[in-house]
């Protein structure tokens, strides 16, 4: 089942040439179904794709270089702009990596709020994926329903952090601030509404014969190939690999939550679709558990040299004022060393590698973006597909170009 090593990248091997002519066309970078500025160089034989070569980098902004010129806490705002559909996940991976270097403990309440907001963000990310994926295949209505639900999550994230697309809500050592009064009631209200909306999506899309025909048996990848290509997240679980970092390398207290890991065996676009649809219901379960675990307490770690003091303490305590000044003006020293912190982001394994040589700025920050690696498997997935299926395959990988190009 797994093809040999010699065929990276897929060379011009022609399986079937009904017209005996080949044509090379450029799909993108302005194509609406490439989810950003992605260009595909397609070698076509009739309507069949002989070879697909992704060309990326149109959105490259040198973010990893920027980190080296910013203090650790200033890096958080850069992470928002990578995978802009899952900014809280990016925040989390980054602050957790720094916290690992600093070896500070995060209070329980902050952990629970992190899990709750990250799972809401996962639902929001999957909703954008569902809306755009269905839109690509021709089901336009779904898009509006998905964005209606996503808007509710955006409002919740805005209520907690003040930002919608770029919340920067997590801080090294905890959260920017506690959730506002009445937030739990608003989350509960959303929780009550979501299952009905998910049922609606199932009626609109899952039971849709056209959608099924467009996705079943398209873009197949076997479990061995998926692992070899480094696929992660729902794209890997759609090929029957039972793997979720929240379960196997738990973080932020995920080991205390009861949730299932949706796995589908077929390895096609349809299987990846089903995995994400079921994941939204699992995230819904986790948010509900997080709500019930929420206890009063501090949302900032007890690390005065790293975590900004409360405003009130700053006005009355000299040492708090000094710490505030030092953190803002000079930053804080992070011990020399290197860490790799993986999390299960909405698109797969998001890993942050930080190398510190001491001092207030990192020597190197590297993001292992799941979109970047998932896209690299596209030549394998697209070989032999029809041109019209390419948009379905790209949609099933759930890529965000902001993260791919960084």
């Amino acid at each position: 089942m797994s093809s040999s090593v010699a065929d990276i990248p897929p060379q011009f091997e022609v399986v079937d040439r009904p017209l005996d002519t080949q044509m090379t066309i450029s799909m993108g970078p302005q194509h609406p179904s490439t989810h950003g500025v992605l260009r595909l160089e397609l070698v076509l034989d009739g309507e069949m794709v002989v070879k697909a070569t992704p060309d990326i980098g149109y959105l490259h902004t040198g973010m990893e270089k920027l980190f080296e010129y910013r203090k650790y806490q200033q890096g958080i705002v850069i992470t928002d702009r990578m995978d802009y559909l899952n900014p809280l996940g990016n925040n989390l991976a980054y602050v957790m990596a720094v916290e690992k270097l600093l070896q500070i403990e995060i209070p329980e309440r902050a952990q629970v709020i992190r899990v709750m907001t990250c799972e809401l963000q996962r639902i929001a990310s999957h909703l954008v994926w569902l809306g755009t994926h269905a839109l690509d295949i021709g089901a336009m209505t779904v898009f509006f329903y998905c964005f209606r639900e996503r808007e509710k999550i955006m409002n919740l994230i805005e209520a907690a952090s003040g930002g919608r697309l770029t919340p920067s809500y997590f801080r090294i050592g905890g959260l920017m601030m506690d959730i506002p009064a009445g937030f739990e009631r608003r989350v509960q209200q959303f929780q009550n509404e979501l299952p009905k909306a998910l049922d609606e999506f199932d009626k609109l899309v899952t039971g849709n014969r056209i959608f099924q025909k467009r996705t079943q048996g398209i873009g197949y990848i076997s479990a061995e190939d998926a692992i070899d290509w480094g696929l992660s997240g729902p794209s890997l679980r759609g090929s029957g690999v039972h793997l979720d970092i929240r379960r196997v390398n738990p973080y932020s207290g995920y080991e205390k939550y009861d949730f299932e890991i949706p796995v589908e065996q077929d390895g096609d676009v349809w299987a990846r679709y089903l995995v994400r649809m079921r994941e939204m219901r699992e995230s819904h379960k986790i948010v509900q558990q997080a709500l019930s675990r929420l206890q009063p307490g501090s949302v900032k770690a007890d690390a005065p040299k790293v975590v900004l003091p409360d405003r009130e303490a700053m006005k009355t305590h000299m040492d708090a004022l000094i710490h505030h000044f030092l953190i803002i003006a000079e930053g804080f020293d992070v011990p020399a060393g290197e860490v790799y912190q993986p999390i299960e982001a909405s698109k797969g394994e998001l890993g942050v590698y930080i190398k510190s040589t001491g001092g207030p700025k990192p020597a190197r920050v590297h993001f292992r973006g799941p979109s970047f690696i998932n896209l690299s498997a596209l030549p394998q997935l697209a070989r032999g597909a029809m041109v019209a299926d390419i948009v379905a395959i790209i949609g099933s990988l759930d890529i965000v170009l902001g993260e791919i190009d960084r």
Binding site: P9, L101, H366, S376
Partner: protein
């Protein structure tokens, strides 16, 4: 397909304590059995790093992937690091390995001198290394020998220099100009 990969129900494969080896134990065992592959082992922050002589990287990776009990079948990440132009060896290449069956992680590290920034490509071991290595080549100028398609990936083909090197200025060598 092996039974380990396919887990239709929601249960993580149970591994008994006797056959579980921590990454640190794996590194120590490797150092004992194959001293030529391991030049140094570092345990820090709960992570294990093996320093590998660059000639040995392919042999070690193939061994780690294929050996039962280790089964590092998933290359999580591969990234470069520049220690700075005055340092020697100047460049580091980090390989973050993961096992989808055992769920353990390991970091391999290869050190490269500035005048000879060559290391063998591991794309033949894990195909996912392809784009990781292209990125590292693009941003650090590390040349991966026997790579199937070593081209720039993020920056334009005509870009001068390697942007993540420490001596590459943040705003580039030339001031921005429309002329």
């Amino acid at each position: 397909m092996s039974e380990n990969i396919l887990q239709p129900n929601d249960s993580t494969p149970q591994i008994t304590a006797s056959e579980m080896m921590t990454p640190s134990q794996i590194a120590t065992a490797l150092q004992r059995e194959h001293p030529e592959w391991v030049s140094e082992v570092v345990d820090a922050f709960g992570e294990t790093t093996i320093f590998v002589p660059r000639e040995q990287i392919i042999a070690l990776c193939a061994h780690l992937k294929a050996t039962p009990g280790l089964e590092f079948d998933f290359l999580s990440d591969l990234c470069g690091f520049d220690r700075g132009p005055e340092e020697e060896p100047r460049f580091e290449v980090n390989y973050h390995l993961f096992s989808t069956k055992r769920h353990h992680r390991l970091r391999l590290k290869v050190l490269l001198n500035e005048e000879d920034v060559h290391v063998s490509s591991v794309a033949a071991v894990w195909r996912t290394a392809n784009w990781h290595e292209r990125e590292t080549y693009d941003l650090f100028g590390v040349i991966f020998d026997d790579h199937p398609d070593l081209r720039r990936i993020l920056l334009p083909d005509d870009w001068q220099g390697h942007a993540l090197r420490k001596d590459f200025p943040l705003r580039g060598y030339e001031p921005y100009s429309l002329e």
